[in-house]
Structures are given as structure tokens and as C-alpha cells.
Amino acid sequence: MAWLLAILETLLFIAAAPLLAGWIKRVKCRLQNRKAPSLFQPYRDLRKLYRKQPITPHSASWIFRAAPYIVFASTVLAAAFVPLVTVNLPTARIADVIVLVGFFALGRTFQVLAGMDIGTAFGGMGSSREMTISSMAEPAMLMAVFTLAMSAHTTNLSQAMNYVLDTGLVLRPSFVFALGGMMLVAVAETGRIPVDNPATHLELTMIHEAMILEYSGRWLALIEWASQIKLMLYGVLIANIFFPWGIAQDFSLQALGFGVAMIALKLAVLAVLLVLSEVLFAKMRIFRVQEYLSFAYLLSVLGMLSHIILEAARVHH
């Protein structure tokens, strides 16, 4: 039963990801006074891509062809570990938050390798930038989740959420810092403005797009979908770790229903925040990104330290 539920949740996750993307586009258009496409445009795009015949460059190796599947699979697995509407699912036991980060890294690695596989200048450029950014973002992310893990005494996500739920609303300075860090990282990792611009193909600014420049057809679809799932993953992480209220703690129907509604609401709100930031800020130069990310890193480490110094100082074992 639990396993079935877990699989269902994962499927829901996968299915809902394009919807979130559509929502974000829509809100953005509204804020920019443009006419918005329908909410389901992403699904149409994906379907269109599946139908198209993919093209492999001559110099491509098997890595180029395998990468989309690996990227997608690793993202889906990551999605499976993260409690969406309910905690205490068995999948949450398979892997904890460190493994989650590991899986992001795995997917990214193959994406980058695929980018370098063709031997185009853009592929290399994108890969180099992607790795640079991630090598600063990943530690920040780890620090942020460690802060949570240390106060919850677990790296297991559903345990941690339980912990937050049980202790109720406590104003922890560490969580505030961690939340800040986490949000900055999420923006960077999902390739949004001000770090990267998913909508551009302007040579010198693109990062993520530069890597997948040579992809087409179903491969491109898989990658796009994977990045939509990733975006949603970060959203869910932020939402459920820092504001877990409303997530179902048992498997009763109305609890689950309420959980779905709540997560949808939270994600919608987060999406609006994201869009606001995207509309308000301009994309920054690649070498400014390091300052941005080291600030995220700093926030997370501060969160950790403030947990150690301010909150846990009187804990004795």
C-alpha cells in the first residue's frame, strides 16, 4: 500500500512539473503585460518534441545518446525521495537529503559530459560554467540542509519534516538563514534569472541552454521535462522543509487531499515569488554569480553556526 502510494506520488510529481512551469510562464507574462499562453502549453511542447525525429551530430558518442535518459532517471529518482503530499513513505527511507544532492550531481554530470561530447565551443562553455556554478551552489545547498538536519538530528527528509511539525512553529534564526540560502541556490541551480536565463539563446549569456544546444526530439523533451521536475523539486523542498504544515502525516484520504491542495498552494505562491524576482532583477555577468553564490554559501554556514551557537548551546547528551 505504502509503496503503491509512493509510486503514485512520484507519478503525480512528474506529471505536475510541466504544469508548474506553465504557471510560472503565465504569471510572468501577466506581470510583463504580455498575452499568456495556456497553462498546458509545456505539455504540448513536450508532445511535439516526442514526435520529432532526433538528430545526432557525427562526433557524438554513446554518452550523448544515453545522457537524457540518465538525467531524467536521476531526476525522477530524486523526486521519489522527496515527500510531496505525505511523509513517512518508504521511499523516503531509501535515501536521505545527501543522496538527493548526490543525484542532482549525477544528473548534472551527465548533462555536462553530453555538452562536451560534441566538441562545440558552446557545449564546452556551457559545461564549464555549469560546473563552476554548481561547484559553489552544491556546498551552499548542503549547508542549508545540514542546518535542518542538525536541529532535527536526522538527514532523512520525512523525519525532519515530522520534527518540524512536532515542534510546531519556532522562530529559529538558523532556519531563516538556511531558507535564504536555499532560495538563492534554487534560483541558481534551476537556471533562472539572475543567474541564467532559460529563455535566451544569446551565445555569450547562456549556460544551461548552451549545453543542450545540440539536442532535439525526444532527448530534448526528456531534458526539458527533467529540468521542470528539478524546478519543482526545489520548490517542494523549500515548501515542505520550512513550511511543512498541511502535509499529510497519515494515509487517510482527506489528509492526502488536503496535502495535495496545500502543496499546490505553496508552490503557486513560491512560483509567484520567483517570477517577481525574475521580473525585478536583471541577469548578472557570469563573474558576478560567484558573489551571489558565495553569499548563499555564507548564509547557509551562518545558519549552521547560529544553530550551533544560539540554539543548541544548552543541549547536553
Binding site: 520529432k52 554518452i63 566538441g119
Partner: protein, 704 residues
């Protein structure tokens, strides 16, 4: 039984060393057999067949490595045997000083490291025959290579078996000096000679530090056997002196910053299968020495030591990988990454020391297990990578990444095995590198259990550094693989490379790759096997990890953290295959081959792609303060008055700060001192008489 296997492995290594001397001695051997075996014609005919002209060389070459392989297998058996059977085998050999015979002891700790030694050794013995063939007709004699390889291996095995300071140091120095001869094997390159000299010099100094550390224990425990030393009761001050000496000595061999300077010089200089042994195994022997000294011989542990080790370890980890990122020479890059991994291991050891000193035995044990596991993992994937690098070198004769590229098309099988090595050293799930780093993070996350707030805030900072390190490591090795194997070939050699012919040269790395996957997916039994070991060192055994069944890894408790790599692997494969099935099999749209689009720029060629230097440029900019970057841009100008710049060429070097700041000044200081000393030898006899006159006067004055 295990001890017997251990002796057997040492013997096999020594025999292989002796066999090496028979290179190109066929006639002598033949003559010998004629004279000796005249009585027994049956054996003589066999001997004649063995010594027959036809492919004697190949048979001889293989026999060397078969013996090494036997040595490795025996080491593995001995280690596994002692690890599983909870016993300690001791023995005394009638060698050494008249009042101090060689004490031999095989316990779980040494057993574990025998396994760490055994696996790469077997791989090397598979790989070797194909690799050394190119030295056959060169000016460098195979005899030297084989002799010192055997001695090197025997030395490492003896270090693990030693149970008194004397035999330990003999074996240790044997290991150092034998590996020196291997480093300078290709001695016509001045760089190799320099590397060898630096290596041996630092080995000497490190060894003296270790001897002195033993000296302290021997003084208090009056006796040079390890048993006597265990009994030594030291004042904290003396204990710290001993500990610092040991850390210096073993750290110098392990390559801790700033004592690592020899490492990136020496490892690239040696033949690749030797680099694999040096980087994969010898560094672990140093770690073994440190564990033996700090966890076993010293009676109590102080938390300050842990802090020192933690700081040094973190520094080594992050600096090591930062320098590795900027290397363009493949083997140099791998060497620097060894510095990084040793740093990670010592970070874990530091955590373990801190926890043990503050009475948190189970967490201390966890740290120790993490460190040991990472030792094994690094031994596996670093040897794999060095063997792979050797194969590339063997096929392309290119050292520099900038001249490689596109090898995945030329050497697909090697590329596949190398990829596994890359992924595991980049600590990606579900491979083995990730498991040990996961455990280290789990240890660090328990910092909350400590009393002292200072430590509680120090450890998270260290884990932050660790996180940064592993992220940079991923970048570094993605760069390595992407530049070397993917894209378009950057040189003629790379373009015309082909897969290695000798199957062994693939079998060796493949075996290691298999181990990487296996230990990555099923780490639980391995950790279970370390129970006796930790019981012996810390008096604690990790709670049986099967709280959720043996598939799960739950070091602390199921609630705190759980990781089921095998399920993860299954899940990934399942999803991947599902997509493949749905999207490919069903739609059945065959992909079309075409020119890359590349934003519409046509005429793609190899010089347009990102080079290794370009790939790591952003990191170079971001971490500017760490490096001493030397960039040069030379322009070729043409036209009237050389105004028009027709071509630009950009070079950069990132010399090691430690060399510039510590080592070169020290060298100059010595020379200055020597010049001063030379002033004593004026050459004028009257001055000399004056010396002796004033010495006499001075002494007389002192006496009365």
C-alpha cells in the same frame, strides 16, 4: 593460516624481485640448468623448454607479474581471513638485532590494509605484462623495474606485518627507497631525477620523524616492541610531542599539505602501474601507520590532536582539489587529487579523534570506519584511473590533456571503465566514493553531541569545506573525462590512437571498476566486516547495520539516516530503461546523423572546443587568492611595423605555492649555510693550527 598467507605474499613479492634479475640472462640460466640438472634429465628437459629461445622474454615478463598477482591474492586472503576470524596472529623471526628479533603481528587493522593492498596489486599484475613490454627494448632495463617493484610491494606488506619499531622502519624505508628507484626509472629526463631526489629527501626526513616518535614511546615504555609501547604511560606533553612527530612523518608520506610537495612530482614520473601502486596503496600504508600510532599505540587521545588533524585534513582536501583543477598533465592531476582524497581521509580521522577523546565512542568508531572505507575506495578508483592514464599514455604517448580528446571513439572499452572511475572519484551515487563521503557527512552531522561549543562550531565548518571539496572534485573529473575522452581529438596521436591490444591492460582496470560498483552498491557487508577491527581499536562495533535489512546502510540509527544504494541503483535503471522503452522502442524514430548545429556557426574544428585550461578558467578567477598564476600571452604580429596581430597564444602555469613559499627558501638557506661553512676550510695551514690551538685553550679554560 592467515599469517601463512601473509608470509606467502611477501615471499612471492621477493621472488618476483629476484626473478627480475634473470632478465636477458637466458643463456646463463640455461647453462646453470645444464650443470645442475644433469642428474635428472626429466626436469632438465622441462627446464630446457622453459629456457628455450622462443619468447623467453615474454614468459619471463609474465612470470614476474604472475608472482605479483599471487602476492596480491595471498595478501587478500590473509586480510580477509584475519578480518573474519576474530583473532590476532603473532610471530617472531630470527632476524634483526641480537636483542630485538623481528616481531610480526597480523591483526584486523593490518588485515584490512592487506586487502587494500591486495586488490590494486592483482589489477596491476593483470595490467603489467602489456604495459612494460615497451620497456623491453628501451635503454632502461626491465630487471631494475621488476626488482624494485617486487621490493616495493614486499616493503609495503612488511610494514603492515611489523610489530616492533625496528622492523617497521626497515620495511618503511625499504618501501621508500624501492619506490625512489622506480620514480627515477626513466632517469634521462631531468624532471624525473629532480622528482626522485625531492621524494627521497622528504622520505628520509619523514622517516626520522617517525623514528623519533617511536623513540618517545620506546623511552617511556622501555622497549622497541609495539607491545611495550602500548604499555607506555606518557604525560600529555610527551604524548603530544610523539603525536606531532608521527603526524609529520606519516603525513609527509601520505602527502598532507604542506608536506605534499613531492607527491605531484613523483607520481607522474614513475611508470603508470607504479604510480597506481604509489598513489593507490603506498599513501594508504602511510594512513595505516598513522592509525596504528594514534589509535593503537598511544594510550590516550587529546581533543587538540583531533582539531589539528581536522584542520590539516580539510586544508589538504580543498587545496589538493583546487590545484588538481588547474593541472593539464593527466597524471599530475591525478596526483593532486590523491592529496585531496588523503585530506578527506584525515578529516574523517580528525573527527574520529575528536569524538573518541570526548568519550563518544560510537561516533568515533563511525568516523574511523568512514576513513577506512574511503582508504579502500580511493585505493580502488585511483589505481583504476592511473592504470587508465597509463593505457592512454601507452597508446597516444601524450601526457597533456590539451593533446587528447575524442578517445571514447578510439578506445571505447577503456573509456567505459575510466568513466566508472571518474564517477566514483567524483563521489556520485550509487558508486563507492559516495558511500564513504556520505558516512563522513553523517559523522560530521553528529557534532551536536559534543560538549564543547568550539568543536561544535568547528566541525560544521570543516564539513562545509568538505562539501566544497566534493563539488570541486566533480568539476575536476568531469573536466578530465570531457577533455580527454569526449569532443574532437586535439592532436595527431589522439586522432590515431586505438584500443589497447593486450587484454590484461583492460582486465586490470575492469576488475577495479567492478569493485567500485560492487562496494558502492553493497557497502553493508564490508562495514560489517570491520567490526572486529573497530572492536580492537576503539572497543566498539557499529550497531549491526541490518536495522532495515542488509540492503540498508544505517550507521547511526534508522531514524537518523538510511541509504539503500542497491535499491537506488535498481530504481535508476528501471526508470531509465522505462523511458528508453517508451520513447525509443515505441516511437521507433531512428535518430539522423548530421553536422552539429552549433548556433549556426559552421566548420567546426578541434581548436574551437574548450581546452582543459579554458574549462577551469572560471575557477581560476574565482579562487585567484589561492593560486600563484603565471599567465603569458605571446602575439605574432605582421604587416608594416608589426602592427597587425595575426595570432595570439595564451600560456598559463599554476606552480605550487608550497614549493615557492617553503621549499625553495629552505634550499637557499642551506646553500647559504654551506657557503659559510666553506669559509672554515681556508686552505691556510696557519689558520688550521689556530683552530686546534684555540680549541685546546678553550677546552682547558672550560675544564679548570
Amino acid at each position: 593460516m592467515s599469517l601463512f598467507f601473509a608470509y606467502l605474499s611477501v615471499a612471492a613479492a621477493l621472488i618476483s624481485a629476484l626473478t627480475a634479475l634473470a632478465t636477458n640472462r637466458r643463456l646463463a640460466l640455461d647453462h646453470l640448468s645444464q650443470t645442475l640438472l644433469r642428474r635428472w634429465p626429466a626436469i632438465q628437459t622441462k627446464a630446457d623448454k622453459l629456457l628455450s629461445e622462443t619468447d623467453y622474454a615474454e614468459r619471463h615478463r609474465n612470470s614476474l607479474f604472475i608472482l605479483l598477482g599471487i602476492s596480491g591474492i595471498c595478501a587478500l586472503l590473509a586480510g580477509a581471513g584475519i578480518l573474519t576470524s576474530n583473532t590476532i596472529a603473532t610471530d617472531t623471526l630470527p632476524l634483526g638485532l641480537p636483542w630485538l628479533h623481528w616481531h610480526i603481528r597480523l591483526d584486523p587493522l593490518s588485515g584490512f590494509f592487506l586487502c587494500v593492498l591486495g586488490l590494486p596489486l592483482i589489477a596491476v599484475s593483470l595490467y603489467g605484462p602489456g604495459y612494460v613490454r615497451e620497456f623491453e627494448h628501451g635503454k632502461y632495463s626491465l630487471a631494475v623495474l621488476g626488482l624494485f617493484t617486487g621490493l616495493f610491494v614486499a616493503g609495503m606488506e612488511l610494514v603492515l606485518l611489523a610489530d616492533d619499531a625496528f622492523v617497521f622502519m626497515i620495511a618503511w624505508e625499504l618501501m621508500s627507497v624501492a619506490s625512489y628507484f622506480l620514480v627515477v626509472f626513466q632517469h634521462e629526463h631531468a624532471a624525473n631525477r629532480r622528482a626522485g631526489f625531492l621524494y627521497l629527501l622528504m622520505a628520509v626526513i619523514g622517516a626520522i620523524a617517525i623514528i623519533l616518535a617511536f623513540g618517545v614511546l620506546a623511552g617511556f615504555g622501555d622497549g622497541l616492541t609495539f607491545d611495550a609501547m602500548r604499555g607506555a604511560v606518557l604525560s600529555p606533553a610527551w604524548a603530544s610531542v610523539a603525536f606531532v612527530l608521527a603526524l609529520t612523518g606519516f603525513g609527509m608520506k601520505a602527502g598532507l599539505v604542506p608536506l605534499h610537495a613531492w607527491l605531484p612530482e613523483a607520481h607522474p614520473a614513475a611508470p603508470s602501474h607504479i604510480s597506481a601502486l604509489m598513489s593507490g596503496v603506498m599513501l594508504k600504508i602511510a594512513v595505516y601507520g598513522f592509525i596504528r600510532f594514534g589509535f593503537d599505540l598511544l594510550d590516550q587521545i587529546h581533543w587538540q590532536w583531533g582539531v589539528v588533524v581536522l584542520i590539516v585534513g580539510s586544508a589538504s582536501a580543498v587545496l589538493g582539489i583546487l590545484y588538481a583543477l588547474q593541472q593539464q598533465n593527466l597524471k599530475r592531476l591525478l596526483a593532486y587529487s590523491s592529496v585531496e582524497n588523503i585530506g578527506i581521509i584525515f578529516t574523517a580521522l580528525g573527527l574520529s579523534l575528536i569524538f573518541l577523546s570526548s568519550g563518544q565512542t560510537e561516533l568515533g568508531t563511525l568516523g574511523l570506519v568512514a576513513a577506512l572505507l574511503h582508504c579502500l575506495n580511493h585505493a580502488l578508483f585511483k589505481s583504476l584511473l592511473f592504470l587508465g592514464a597509463g593505457a592512454i599514455l601507452h597508446q597516444t604517448h601524450e601526457q597533456s590533456l590539451e593533446n587528447m580528446g575524442g578517445l571514447i571513439h578510439r578506445m571505447p572499452e577503456l573509456a567505459a571503465t575510466f568513466l566508472i572511475g571518474t564517477l566514483s572519484i567524483a563521489a556520485l551515487p550509487p558508486l563507492n566514493g559516495f558511500v564513504s563521503e556520505w558516512l563522513i557527512f553523517q559523522t560530521a552531522l553528529q557534532a551536536g553531541n559534543l560538549e564543547s561549543g568550539v568543536l561544535r562550531s568547528l566541525i560544521p565548518t570543516a564539513s562545509a569545506v568538505l562539501a566544497l571539496t566534493s563539488a570541486l572534485a566533480a568539476t575536476c573529473f568531469v573536466k578530465l573525462y570531457g577533455v580527454a575522452f569526449l569532443g574532437l581529438p586535439r592532436s595527431e596521436h589522439a586522432a590515431h590512437a586505438h584500443e589497447v591490444r593486450h587484454r590484461g591492460m583492460l582486465a586490470g582496470p575492469a576488475m577495479l571498476a567492478a569493485c567500485c560498483v560492487l562496494f558502492g552498491v553493497l557497502p553493508t557487508p564490508l562495514i560489517g566486516a570491520m567490526g572486529n577491527l573497530t572492536l580492537q581499536l576503539t572497543g566498539f562495533q557499529l550497531p549491526n547495520t541490518s536495522a532495515l535489512g542488509w540492503l540498508w546502510l544505517t550507521p547511526v540509527s534508522p531514524e537518523t539516516a538510511a541509504y539503500a544504494p542497491s535499491l537506488v541503483l535498481i530504481g535508476t535503471v528501471a526508470v531509465g530503461w522505462l523511458c528508453y522503452y517508451l520513447l525509443y522502442r515505441r516511437t521507433g524514430l531512428e535518430p539522423r546523423r548530421a553536422e552539429p548545429w552549433d548556433c549556426g556557426f559552421g566548420g567546426l574544428n578541434a581548436r574551437m572546443q574548450y581546452t582543459s585550461g579554458a574549462f577551469s578558467m572560471p575557477i581560476r578567477r574565482i579562487f585567484q587568492p589561492v593560486y600563484e598564476i603565471r599567465e603569458t600571452i605571446d602575439e605574432t604580429k605582421e604587416g608594416p611595423a608589426q602592427t597587425r596581430v595575426t595570432a595570439l597564444r595564451y600560456h598559463f602555469q599554476v606552480p605550487d605555492r608550497a614549493l615557492l613559499v617553503l621549499y625553495e627558501p629552505a634550499g637557499h638557506a642551506v646553500l647559504r649555510l654551506a657557503r659559510w661553512a666553506g669559509g672554515l676550510q681556508t686552505g691556510n695551514i696557519r689558520t688550521y693550527l689556530g683552530y686546534s690551538f684555540f680549541t685546546l685553550i678553550f677546552l682547558l679554560w672550560v675544564i679548570s
